[in-house]
């Protein structure tokens, strides 16, 4: 078995160089709450672990609702939960991050890790996508920005090229009466993996009519899937609009059949969660 090396670069450019030059299997470490479990279970055998947490700015939150937020890639879920301005502006993103694992796990787990682990059931991912989140990616040819939904390409697979890693997340400035929500279905109340997850962001006008919406489902397909929100735009989320949203959500489902949920069950729950999550986001947006 090849021996494992560990490095903790202190600049983005050093990290990129190390990742680009690595010849064997390599893993980027942020919170490590998935990586260490996979390492221990023997599911991965990297030759190099590149710990990003010594890079200045990789942890921490800057910005405001008025200008948008930049969240360092390795910022912990616990830190998101403690940030009052972020929680007020993006309650859905924060509630999703604070559903990941236990409080112990949230003390380490990060948005970048949750995204790049590329589980279809990742809780924070539909919420970040619905919120219009983007990621800043450093790599050998410089820095690029990409929408959050462009990263996961399948279970355990991402669109990041060799040498690339996520430096930060950006959530846009809150314009007008906009808010978000995230719900997941699990058979118990805590410490479980989403059977279905749903993130919704909604903007309403002064009269309560929806002017914009973005919806993302998790755990019902190999990647997070968007739901066509046109059926609720121009409505006040009345029963007819909710019924159309339910159908639109179910139409996007292509789930697995496993012990935690059959295909039929996951599909039905996706419709129910889309309705419930949209109602929460709608009420929050109206209260702005």
């Amino acid at each position: 078995m090849p021996s494992l090396n560990y490095v903790a670069p202190t600049t983005v450019s050093d990290a990129v160089k190390i990742l680009a030059d690595a010849s064997g299997p390599t893993r980027v470490l942020s919170g490590g709450t998935d990586l260490l479990v996979q390492l221990r279970a023997g599911r991965i055998s990297p030759e190099l672990i590149v710990d990003t947490k010594k890079i200045p700015g990789i942890m921490g939150i800057t910005g405001s609702a008025a200008e948008g937020f930049t969240i360092g890639a390795a910022t912990t879920g616990a830190e998101l939960g403690d940030h009052q301005a972020l929680k007020a502006a993006y309650p859905g993103v924060v509630e999703a991050a604070n559903l990941i694992g236990s409080k112990q796990v949230q003390g380490r787990a990060s948005l970048a890790g949750n995204l790049c682990n590329a589980s279809p059931a990742a809780d924070s991912v539909p919420a970040v996508i619905a919120a219009g989140g983007t990621v800043t990616i450093a790599g050998p040819s410089g820095t690029r920005t990409a929408p959050a939904e462009s990263i996961v390409t399948g279970p355990g697979r991402t669109s990041l090229a060799k040498g690339e890693f996520i430096v930060s997340f950006h959530l846009p400035a809150i314009k007008g009466k906009t808010s978000d929500a995230y719900l997941r279905f699990i058979p118990r109340t805590e410490m479980d993996i989403a059977v279905v997850g749903c993130g919704v962001s909604i903007t309403v006008d002064a009269g309560g009519t929806i002017t914009a919406a973005k919806i993302s489902l998790g755990a019902v397909a190999p990647t997070q899937v968007p739901v066509d929100a046109s059926c609720i735009i121009g409505t006040k989320l009345d029963d007819a609009a909710l019924a159309k949203l339910d159908a639109a959500a179910q139409a996007m489902c292509n789930p697995i059949d496993d012990k935690r949920g059959t295909i039929e069950f996951r599909t039905k729950v996706a419709g129910v969660l889309a309705r419930r999550t949209a109602k929460i986001a709608y009420d929050r947006a109206g209260a702005r």
Binding site: N5, Y6, D51, S102, K103, Q104, V105, G107, M191
Partner: protein
């Protein structure tokens, strides 16, 4: 790769040790530093028996590489009591019989310390959600919750 030299602070004391790159903090605490109060249950972050506090945030030491500990402040169960005097959390766990086999107890006590440092007056619901990452197969949890409530009251000066 050879072992990596790690300099850290554990329970207020500067410590240094050598760790293999893939070794967990849990293994370093137990096997290298002989701090065996921190227990290994599942080894996958599900049971909370290995809970420690790193720079004020609690986490499972099985999910942290030992080499990541460098430059950080770590509190383990061994750092909770003041010398021979039990911490009020430990005293209330005893008084409430909030343990049977005791294997999960260090994790529960460290997690409770992290909770009460952040929220001195948690509701029962808050306690139960906070401790959802700590598994106990003996007590049924009710006595643990009561011990946490009693400890919180005592620490508030009630």
């Amino acid at each position: 790769m050879s072992k990596i030299h790690v300099e850290t602070t554990i329970n207020g004391e500067p410590m240094e040790f050598l760790a293999n790159p893939g070794e967990s903090l849990l293994d370093a605490l137990r096997n290298t530093l002989n701090l065996t109060g921190t227990k290994e249950g599942c080894g996958s972050g599900d049971c909370g028996a290995c809970t420690v506090i790193i720079d004020g945030r609690m986490t499972c030491s099985c999910l942290v590489l030992a080499v990541e500990a460098g430059g950080h402040e770590i509190t383990t169960i061994e750092g909770i009591a003041q010398g021979d005097t039990l911490h009020p959390i430990q005293q209330k766990f005893l008084e409430n019989a909030a343990l049977q086999c005791g294997f999960c107890t260090p994790g529960f006590i460290v997690a409770t310390k992290a909770l009460l440092d952040k929220n001195p007056n948690p509701t029962e619901t808050e306690i139960r959600f906070w401790l959802a990452g700590n598994l106990c197969r003996c007590t049924g949890y009710d006595k643990i919750v009561r011990a946490v409530q009693d400890a919180a009251a005592e620490m508030r000066g009630g």
